[in-house]
């Protein structure tokens, strides 16, 4: 960390900052310039909140040199992580499409959707058995019965499965049926759940919280990685902005940013970001063009979902875009 003092600030201001740093156990490298004095702070600077020092008189700027996230950063690991789930590789040359209904509602619905999305080229079947609902009166999901259906439908169509885990107590029951455990946007900072997922050895798909910065999102992934579970897939799903026309605003720039900052695979979910069927396809094209490792798409008859034939059409379009960005589908 580097503290830049204001131009020609009083010596007493510099001394106050140095005294605080030294009392707290840091070494200081002082460099007095002709205008600005710069203090290099040496030690475990992760424990410092830069804002504390920005509030000292005479401080112009506090600059962090190292990022607070470690295991997820490119500095820690240069090569991209490839997450393997039942033969599907996320983060490799292939763009992986995960598709299916938001919620598992019935056997016929699920098997029919699975067959149709698999035929169109989807590799992973999504479906929620435990649903985080804004309203407690909405359908809360089928639970383990739903997961058994998900597994059977995926097996029939030779797909892997992804399903959302809501709380620690559900993890064990999900493991036999689910290949990728999804953490939803509302649980991105449920640190107890993330810590528990660090203890298992199955891929975790971590959605970005709707008000989370990229740094907070990567820090959330650290809770899983520090437990020894290195198979984390990040999923952008739109953030809250002032725009009300769409449900959320898909932060497409997060894709190249994550690609640069982290070695973890990054996919995106256009369905939940936009919340309207007619806008899902253009966003899905943009996500793939931006270099994402995959897509998570709802295929169902909800307003935010694509119909199966629309999904097949989207896959045809993606087959044109994907080679242009040097990937396969």
């Amino acid at each position: 960390m580097v503290i830049v003092m204001e131009k020609h600030t009083a010596e007493s201001n510099i001394e106050r900052v140095m005294a605080e740093l030294i009392t707290r156990g840091f070494d200081v490298h002082r460099s007095t310039g002709s205008d600005h004095t710069v203090l290099g702070v040496v030690g475990n600077v992760e424990t410092i909140d830069p804002r504390e020092f920005e509030l000292f008189d005479g401080v112009q700027e506090v600059v962090r040199i190292s990022e607070p996230y470690k295991l997820s950063s490119r500095t820690f690991r240069k090569e991209k992580t490839v997450v393997k789930a039942r033969g599907v590789e996320v983060g490799g040359a292939d763009v992986v499409v995960m598709a299916g209904p938001c919620t598992i509602e019935s056997e016929t619905q699920l098997f029919e959707t699975a067959r149709r999305v698999a035929r169109a080229g989807a590799r992973v079947l999504r479906g929620g058995a435990y649903k985080p609902r804004t309203s407690p009166y909405a359908f809360q999901g089928m639970g383990v019965e739903g997961l058994k259906l998900l597994r059977a439908a995926a097996d029939e169509s030779r797909m892997a499965t992804v399903s959302e885990v809501m709380e620690i107590s559900q993890i064990e029951g999900m493991l036999p049926y689910v290949d990728i455990l999804q953490v939803g946007a509302r649980n991105m900072q449920n640190f107890n759940l993330l810590t528990a997922l660090g203890q298992i050895r199955k891929p975790v798909l971590l959605k970005r919280g709707m008000s989370a910065t990229i740094q907070e999102w990567l820090l959330a992934s650290e809770y899983i990685l520090t437990g020894g579970n290195y198979d984390v897939i990040l999923c952008e799903r739109g953030i809250r902005t002032f725009e009300t026309y769409t449900r959320n605003t898909l932060d497409i720039s997060a894709i190249p940013v994550i690609e640069k900052l982290s070695h973890l695979p990054i996919i995106a979910d256009p369905s939940h970001a936009v919340g309207r069927r007619d806008k899902v396809m253009p966003l899905a094209r943009a996500i793939v063009a931006a270099g994402a490792d995959g897509l998570l798409i709802e295929v169902h008859h909800d307003p935010q979902s694509l119909y199966p034939d629309q999904f097949a059409r989207l896959m045809d379009e993606l087959r044109i875009i994907v080679p242009a960005v040097g990937r396969r589908l």
Binding site: E11, A19, T23, D27, V28, R30, S31, T32, S34
Partner: protein, 98 residues
């Protein structure tokens, strides 16, 4: 002075620089030993490691003593680094003697 004379002369001066460096290193270590002694005393008495007035005194002193060709601000910058490292060894000694 021909080319080989010049090369010999450069070698001779470089050798002299090496001798000077050896003295600087010995003196820096001597200086560090004094800093450690102060650190030990500060540790026993629980005195603060950072003494800004003393640091300013040291810097003024070296600036005043400096006769060139290095100018006073240059000498100050060099000594800022020496003081940074002295503070660090002093602190270590103080912690061990608390």
């Amino acid at each position: 002075m021909n080319r080989s004379d010049a090369e010999r002369e450069i070698d001779r001066i470089r050798d002299a620089i090496d001798r000077v460096d050896e003295v600087i290193v010995r003196l820096l270590n001597q200086r560090a030993k004094y800093a450690i002694e102060i650190g030990e005393i500060k540790g026993v008495l629980g005195l603060p490691i950072y003494a800004p007035e003393r640091e300013q005194q040291v810097l003024h002193h070296v600036e005043k003593t400096c006769e060139g060709p290095l100018d006073a601000p240059t000498m100050r910058r060099l000594f800022e680094r020496i003081i940074d490292e002295s503070r660090s060894v002093e602190r270590k000694a103080a912690t061990e003697n608390q």
